[in-house]
Symmetry: C2
């Protein structure tokens, strides 16, 4: 099954555009909880409230040699009807990109991956040639430094729009999407206006301060799916042993708030 | 010791600007050789001929759960006076970049890392704040798709030059360098002319077709170090069991050819 079909299916089934980012930092976990147990409990408590999970590989690499198998265990704990978007932001030349794609899709079993566009088409193609997988290309990111390069203009068009336009032309298998942060709503709107049907992965609400209302409003106009990704606000909703119940409560609130904005 | 001091020291000691890229692909190894043994033997046969080794993390990730410890073993096999540049091309928002930096420097023990500039300053800062480490920022890459975005112009200046200029302004600890491919010599020359002293990591000769002579000529003008990175041409010099001797012979030829061009 095409990953975007699965993503849309999970969104419909759970009436949810919420994606939970799994960014486990050992120093933030409740005493005694392992990363694997922590993530599994979060998944177990929220899988009927989300359209996807997004583990960020950096937090697993930071665990050292056990990180890879912990990440694999976490991915395997996700129910199979819920897609796993591996937040990897990879980008390298052709033969290396193929190795990264093998790692993400064949070794880890992710359904989708985030990639960085700086190296151009041949750095992304080895990922989107997995036609049953999806690839979200960084377009306008949510961090303060994003404007350093993404907002430089060429012939009146900012780089992030040039990236979005190229991604649309590369989308021959219909499995590409964009990452567009919620922290710059006007830029999110411009991306959605220019590309009404591409799925958007939208980080930046919650701890990063982006407006959830504007993220939903601008992200969902045009008919393309808007996947709202929230990490810290959900997974660290409580620092106590009740973290999974607290995560469920936070996810429920977010899902319902998103649905309210969608209905508005 | 600052990593760039170590890099310059190794270059002087071995009279070499050659960096060997360690990109082990299991299907290309001689029958029976493990990735660890293959890399260790290459290192053992060449460490007096190089200024650095550059393992690309993608090829280790593609091994699955054993990849991380294989990579760590390979890094530990490098003599301590030779720096290890981890080719990771990472780039993510602040808290995630910190996790990647911890993984590269604290967990794996690399001396330097390559990073992707698309997310801007706060995605790179967590790496260069390790003041005894070095950070090579992708500027003009060696692959065919590089021009897709790196060559778009803003006010007459291509993106890769805008990136190079920013990196120079961020270089307050003197531990930054640039990645500039050999496949576009005129762009390599433009980068070096604008930034005479920044160390350059130059991939793209050998299997990718860039001219070694021009890479050395343009890369070394101005006084900044030019690190010429070659992978496949050295590590796969023979597909037989004599691969380490063949790698040594290839590395020796390359080192001497580089030195001839430097003397010219």
């Amino acid at each position: 099954m095409n990953c975007l079909t699965k993503l849309n299916g999970a969104a419909r089934h759970n009436r949810s555009c919420l994606c939970i980012g799994l960014d486990p930092e050992p120093e933030k976990l409740p005493a005694g909880a392992s990363v694997t147990d922590f993530c599994r409990e979060i998944i177990g408590a929220t899988y009927d409230l989300v359209c996807a999970y997004k583990p960020n590989i950096a937090f697993f690499e930071a665990l050292g040699s056990s990180g890879w198998s912990v990440l694999k265990d976490v991915i395997e704990a996700v129910p199979r009807n819920i897609p796993v978007i591996l937040d990897a932001k990879r980008g390298d030349i052709g033969n290396t990109a193929r190795a990264y794609a093998r790692a993400a899709f064949d070794e880890l079993g992710a359904d989708a991956v985030t990639v960085n566009p700086y190296l151009g088409r041949d750095s992304i193609e080895p990922f989107f040639e997995y036609r049953d997988k999806a690839v979200f290309v960084l377009c306008r990111t949510s961090n303060p430094g994003a404007a350093d390069f993404q907002s430089i203009e060429s012939n009146g068009k900012p780089l992030y729009q040039i990236v979005a336009d190229k991604v649309e032309t590369w989308n021959r298998y219909g499995n590409l999407g964009l990452v567009a942060g919620a922290t710059q709503p006007s830029e999110l709107k411009a991306i959605r206006d220019a590309h009404p049907t591409l799925p958007l992965l939208i980080p930046g609400v919650g701890a990063q301060g982006g407006s959830l209302e504007l993220a939903v409003k601008y992200g969902s106009s045009g008919g393309g799916l808007a996947v709202i990704s929230v990490s810290r606000q959900v997974i660290y909703a409580s620092s106590g042993t009740d973290y999974s119940q607290a995560a469920r409560a936070a996810a429920l609130l977010l899902r319902d708030e998103i649905n309210q904005y969608l209905a508005a």
